[in-house]
Amino acid sequence: MAIEKRVRFKSAWLPYALIAPQMAVVGVFFFWPAAQALYQSVLTQDAFGTSTEFVGLLNFERLFADDTYLASFRTTAVFSVLVAVLGLSASLLLAVMADRVLQGTHVYRTLLIWPYAVAPAIAGVLWLFMFAPSIGVVSHALVAAGIEWNHLLDGRDAMALIVMAAVWKQISYNFLFFLAGLQSIPKSLIEAAAIDGARPWRRFWTIVFPLLSPTTFFLLVINVVYAFFDTFAIVDAATQGGPGKDTAILVYKVYYDGFKALDLGGSAAQSVVLMAVVIALTAIQFRYVERKVQY
């Protein structure tokens, strides 16, 4: 694909008029706030908000000396690894099965696609409703089966709850990409392997899975980004970061510190750290996805 057009229009003012709306929106609501975050992250405010003072990297030092922040990092890491691994495995399994059946692929796709449309906050509410210790259907079934469940008291239960809700919400997205990836693998390769006597299990691991690796890698990055940033609503609806701070992921902490605890400098510093995380993830994604295998 060409990067540049051979033929172009000529006009001194028209291109500027065309990009003006986007540049205005991006400038006012993106660059200004981003600069503001950087600026605030090196300031501190006194208790009454009357004076601010330049403190250099103090906010960052405080941040990384803060045990709750480091704990939040660990929580986020555990959460995103669980969401990515469980979500990808479940949707890969479903996609491989949907790719295998001759009839009904479309029906299954339609039935699996709709959680994409569900808002994360609603997903949080639905799963909360199923697992609420007093009224939840599933929590009662668990207790009846002899498994203790109370996500209001047990941090691991709370983590399990938000992981399930997050995976459920993301499964359709992963499924669609895996299915598209599977359908683009040439059938001749599979047939050749079958003629050589490779069974389905072996064919999957030696041919299909390696050829699918660009999709898998892309989805891995997307899922980590999703777990980092798009799951705020799930956490806020299902656990509010509790019990204690056991499910307070980083984005939740930015919100809590900035808007509830009103620590603007600290919150801005957290924003800057998050920006660095996203930029790193995006860089990784472009570096590897751009070099993806062509077949």
């Binding site: 229009f9 001759l102 409703f129």
Partner: protein
Amino acid sequence: MVERRPGLNLLAHLVLVLGVAIVAFPLYLTFVASTQTAEQIVQNRPMSLLPGDNLVESWRVALFGGTTNYGAATPPVAPMLWTSFVSAMVIAVGKIAISLLSAFAFVYFRFPGRSLCFWMVFVTLMLPVEVRIGPTYEVVSNLGMLNTYAGLTVPLIASATATFLFRQFFLTVPDELVEAARIDGAGPMRFFRDVLVPLSATSIAALFVIQFIYGWNQYLWPLLVTTDESRYPIVLGIKRMISGGDAYTEWNVVMATALLAMLPPAAVVLLMQRWFVKGLVDSEK
């Protein structure tokens, strides 16, 4: 299908049916809960898995508000649905409009500062609004846009996904079309309106679905910029309903509201499934 393995096919269907059942169970439970009364849900432990007979009442209270048996007043959801709809439409249409224009400029013109502008747009891909909530909130509040549709929507338009999709698409449009348009005496805007936009119809449809859902499902941003209940989108409204604790929550009304909040985006996805799948897989890959 490479070989006949009836056993494996059966297994595949079994796994899929099980998967669909697990994925659909929360939805079914939501529906069932919305057909029962709040007492039935709270007092039968666990609640019955069969539909009750309170469907109409739950949905009526959810839509138009009212006092329930506990005496708690529930706010009407209908205005929230309207707020959500307007915001989602503004975000989707606004994003598509400004992106079509700027992608056109980036692809079909060469002008001083083009690559700088391009990179400025490109960086926005990296930072979702969640990352910069604090400062963006301040900007919006300084501009006096709290509790307005503008405040709810415009900051969310500031991202570049659509611009990149359109740019990719424009690059595949044959140059001959430009030449033909030029020979026929058409200027750039004429070419844009009569050739480029009609050609992009599929991409526009796909993006519309993705952006509509994105706009409808916003939570953190409306949570910050709306303090006035009459400006709550539905996704936020539902969260407010459950903050009282299990026993005092009107779960039947909450679940009816949840279904109301899910129906519009789900309908958009299912009705436009073909474009949506294509657009999603093309735009991100």
